[in-house]
């Protein structure tokens, strides 16, 4: 990665989420909450359909952050879960992540992150700090 400059817009990347990815994430993370796999259950608790794990959305956004610096240089990462990522059956849902370089000081860079799905912002105040 070339040198980062405050205010720099970082190119967007698209991540594909489908039901198979949700099952794979549930198995990898241990989060087997049925709202992420079972459509009938999700609807029974008032959700529009199966929704992605918030931590999957954040994990993919973390992959975007890791790609900037290398995973070993990510020292802080935070986000709010403001909108669910709805994943209907037999459908691919696209998570589009982009970033902007914030303050750079003391060998650290703040990265402001934006995660969008169907033109809706799904993570709030998502940000990371990486070592340069």
């Amino acid at each position: 990665m070339s040198q980062l400059v405050t205010g720099q817009e970082l190119p967007a990347k698209t991540f594909t989420i489908n039901r198979a990815v949700l099952i794979q994430y549930a198995d990898a993370s241990g989060d087997q909450n049925p709202i992420h796999q079972d459509e009938a259950f999700a609807k029974s608790v008032g959700l529009p359909d199966v929704i992605a794990h918030g931590m999957l959305t954040m994990g993919l956004t973390g992959k975007y952050l890791s790609d900037i610096s290398g995973a070993e240089k990510v020292i802080e990462f935070s986000a709010k879960f403001i909108k669910p990522v709805v994943v209907p059956a037999n459908t691919e849902v696209f998570l589009i992540v982009s970033g902007k370089v914030g303050e750079i000081a003391d060998g650290l860079a703040k990265i402001e992150l934006l995660a969008m799905c169907n033109e809706i912002k799904v993570l709030g105040v998502a940000k990371g700090v990486i070592k340069l």
């Binding site: 931590m55 994990g59 973390g62 992959k63 995973a71 070993e72 802080e76 990462f77 935070s78 879960f81």
Partner: protein, 127 residues
């Protein structure tokens, strides 16, 4: 309703967790990460989820109404295969906003006496 006296309560897991390369790879692959030597920044949630659930399970909180509100990681050093980690979770705060209960749990993972990662999970219990 979470008993407010439980703020400050800590649960330390009795067993350590040994991180395997397979566990890192399984987690990393879902995210499209091909570097399996270092755990992705959010990997620690796969270890801390159990312990924070154990902490809250018998605290009077209605788990079926819990929504993940916010998550924060402070990573002192990356988790790598072979790490033997011991976790502890603490209820840091509990407050009521517009009928929704908002609980923040901090989870720390230590390797020996060294802190590896701290994570804060904010959970919203829908009214």
């Amino acid at each position: 309703m979470l008993n407010p006296d439980l703020v400050g309560r800590t649960f330390t897991s009795a067993d350590s967790v040994t991180v395997t390369k397979e566990a890192i790879q399984k987690f990393a692959e879902v995210l499209g990460e091909s570097n399996f030597d270092i755990a992705p920044p959010t990997f620690s949630i796969s270890i801390t989820l159990d312990q924070s659930q154990s902490l809250l399970q018998d605290s009077g909180l209605d788990w079926t109404r819990v929504v993940h509100g916010e998550q924060r990681f402070e990573i002192k050093r990356p988790i790598i295969a072979g790490d033997v980690l011991v976790g502890s979770s603490t209820i840091e705060s509990a407050r009521n906003v517009a009928g929704n209960e908002i609980v923040t749990v901090r989870s720390d993972l230590h390797a020996g006496s060294n802190l590896v990662v701290s994570t804060w999970s904010t959970l919203v219990v829908r009214a």
